[in-house]
């Protein structure tokens, strides 16, 4: 866990400036520890594609699809080795003309925490995957 140990080393000299910085918002995290949204986006899309791909909608498969998408995304996110907690939320519906409305509201540290939502559609399947990450 070399990357995770680095910020701890940076804070060992009790630099007042660094402390101010700490106070300012990053909660003791390093710049490198922050999440890159593009990276998460590609991870999630890959996971959806890998799970659903061209398969047409089938009610019976929804359970396995959901767990596979979440599992795939979380494994890759964990492999990033960032000091973060992740929350992954998946909505799957059949594309049959029905509408879908989704919104979220949060109270967190704006600088370190974030969310990314991926909207993916195939011929018959509509998927909305939202990933939240929260600093430890």
């Amino acid at each position: 866990m070399a990357a995770a140990a680095a910020p701890a080393a940076a804070h060992q000299q009790l630099d007042p400036l660094a402390l101010a910085d700490f106070e300012a918002g990053l909660d003791g995290l390093h710049e490198n520890d922050l999440i890159d949204e593009a990276e998460v986006d590609s991870i999630v899309r890959e996971s959806i594609l890998h799970t659903i791909g061209d398969t047409p909608w089938a009610d019976s498969k929804v359970g396995t699809w959901t767990s596979h998408i979440i599992e795939g995304a979380l494994k890759k996110l964990a492999a990033l080795q960032k000091p973060m907690k992740y929350i992954c939320h998946v909505s799957l519906t059949q594309r049959a003309g029905a509408g879908l409305h989704a919104a979220s509201c949060s109270r967190w540290n704006q600088k370190t925490d974030g969310l990314l939502s991926v909207h993916w559609e195939s011929q018959t399947v509509l998927a909305l995957v939202t990933v939240f990450w929260v600093a430890l």
Binding site: H11, E71, A96, A98, G99, A102, S104, R107, W108, L128
Partner: protein
């Protein structure tokens, strides 16, 4: 799912005040529904919901294997003798008897048993247990709809399917039925097809009672009317043969091939004779032959089937012979649709065919005289059954065209107004002229295959009552029990049917007379129009000429 994520964090960084701020609501996705689809949405006006409180049941059908019944008996002729007594030796038997009769126990037993038997005998004499009460009451008028009930199906035991071509009930009504099995399609007999036909007993439908092992498949057969053990039969190759049920399965005798018919022997009939051994047969080779079973070497007589004054030979399909009309008269239904009536003892050989009746469009498969009005007969061919009067050349009555070919038919032996027809579609139609004339009173789908033969049993006792056998192209013979209404004569029926037939006859006669008059009138009309329009004769012409010359001569001289 197992995702491991390890991190390190120093103790002093724990528990610090967080910098949380409200983010406000963030829209992740706003997908509008498809308005086009929404317009197509229809409210279902009503729904049906069924609620039942009864326990759920399910129906199961299983085809159980046929129960095979075997009759067995034991004849006990002699026995019970002690070892040392040989019952064939009269002397020993007498000695043993005398010894026993002296025994005290024997005397006591006989006295005791004698009293018991005497009582039983007296009881049976006193009460007539078979007495039928209310014998003098008139038969009840039945108003139930006619029906049939399938009793059983006699299946051809042969592995190769052959059609049941002819059926014959045992004349004494004991419920025995002889069935001829063969395939009539020309050169379509499967190789290795067995030639045996069988005699069945209604009491044991699982196995035939006797077999008729002919060398060639039988096309027709019938019980002899005098000796009920004799079965006469016609073979596919045209030979006449006969069997004796007492003598086993093999045929007793057969006519020699060179003197037999040259085509399948389609029908034969027992003719009236002293010994009851004479029969007449017909075949599609276009001839009728008379035979005597005692000398089958050569036919007694032979007749080629031609219409009166006609040249073409007609192939015989079915034969009608009933003694009430005359022991020498007969009728033949031909392959060409013509029905020929004949008299065996005509003076001139050319006069032996006395009449022909035309009208059927294809072969006539059945001919049957009405058992109560022998002058009237029924013919079955093409899609219709027709009722004819001997004296008329046109049918007295014709059924409407049936949807499929008719294959067989006949009058009911016990009711004057009822007849049956079978069809290629497997349907048995029952017609009751006493009730209605335009449609059958009952249609029963007997099988999915063409029906080939029909025999209604006359009389019969016990289980063999009111039976009809229907032969099918796959070799099954369905035994139907007819309802009482179809068998028992109705009130006044004979009179009504008789007057109906007479009425139709006079109608046909009048129509024929009208047609004849119309023809004569037309002929006269034609003759008149052929004459010249001016009626001036040669003499008149000469007179006119003379007058003219006189007049002109006068003007010239002036």
């Amino acid at each position: 799912m197992e995702v491991a994520h390890r991190y390190v964090k120093q103790r002093r960084q724990f528990g610090r005040h967080p910098h949380f701020t409200d983010q406000g609501a963030e829209l992740l996705l706003d997908l509008r529904p498809n308005e086009e689809h929404a317009k197509a949405w229809i409210v279902k006006p009503q729904t049906t919901v069924a609620v039942q409180a009864a326990p759920d049941m399910s129906e199961h059908e299983a085809n159980t294997t046929a129960v095979v019944l075997v009759n067995s008996g034991m004849a006990h002729l002699e026995g019970g003798w002690p070892k040392e007594v040989d019952h064939t030796e009269a002397e020993q038997v007498v000695r043993w008897r005398r010894k026993v009769e002296k025994d005290e126990d024997y005397i006591k037993q006989v006295v005791r048993l004698g009293a018991v038997v005497e009582e039983l005998v007296k009881q049976n004499n006193a009460i007539d247990i078979y007495e039928t009460y209310f014998e003098d009451l008139p038969p009840q008028q039945l108003c139930e709809p006619p029906s049939t009930c399938t009793l059983t199906i006699l299946r051809d035991p042969a592995a190769i399917k052959r059609g049941a071509q002819a059926l014959s009930w045992h004349p004494d009504g004991s419920g025995r039925l002889a069935v001829a099995y063969s395939v009539l399609e020309f050169q379509r007999q499967p190789p290795g097809m067995p030639a045996t036909s069988y005699v069945w007993n209604v009491a044991n439908p699982s196995a035939p009672e006797a077999s008729l092992a002919a060398p060639v498949p039988l096309v027709t057969l019938g019980f002899n009317l005098k000796d009920h053990n004799l079965i006469g039969a016609g073979q596919y190759n045209g030979q006449v043969t006969f069997f004796d049920l007492c003598k086993g399965a093999a045929p007793v005798d057969a006519s020699p091939v060179q003197h037999s018919h040259h085509a399948p022997l389609h029908d034969f009939a027992w003719t009236q004779s002293k010994a009851g051994s004479e029969l007449m047969s017909t075949s599609t080779d276009g001839s009728v032959a008379w035979w005597d079973l005692r000398k089958l070497g050569e036919p007694l007589e032979r007749l080629t089937l031609r219409e009166r004054g006609g040249e073409a030979v007609l192939g015989g399909m079915c034969l009608e012979y009933s003694p009430p009309v005359g022991p020498t008269k007969f009728m033949v239904g031909t392959d060409q649709g013509t029905i020929l009536a004949g008299n065996r003892k005509a003076k001139q050989p050319a006069d032996r065919i006395t009449a022909s009746y035309t009208g059927h469009h294809s072969a006539v498969y059945s001919l049957s005289r009405n058992p109560f009005f022998p002058k009237y007969f029924l013919s079955v061919g093409d899609w219709t059954a027709r009722v004819w009067n001997e004296d008329l050349r046109t049918p007295v009555s014709t059924t409407p065209y049936a949807p499929s070919h008719l294959t067989c038919g006949g009058w009911s032996p016990s009711r004057p107004g009822v007849f049956y027809t079978t069809s290629h579609a497997g349907v048995l139609d029952v017609w009751d002229y006493y009730f209605k004339q335009r449609a059958p009173v009952l249609s029963v789908r007997v099988a999915d295959r063409p029906l080939t033969a029909l025999a209604v049993a006359s009389g019969g006792v016990g289980q063999a009552q009111r039976l009809a056998g229907v032969g099918c192209a796959d070799g099954g013979v369905t035994l139907l029990q007819l309802s009482r209404g179809l068998v028992e004569m109705q009130d006044n029926e004979k009179v009504v049917i008789g007057s109906m037939l007479d009425r139709e006859t006079s109608r046909e006669k009048n129509l024929e007379k009208n047609a004849k008059e119309a023809r004569a009138k037309a002929r006269k009309e034609a003759a008149r129009t052929a004459e010249p329009l001016d009626h001036v004769t040669d003499e008149d012409l000469a007179e006119l000429e003379r007058q003219f010359f006189e007049m002109t001569a006068g003007s010239d001289t002036e």
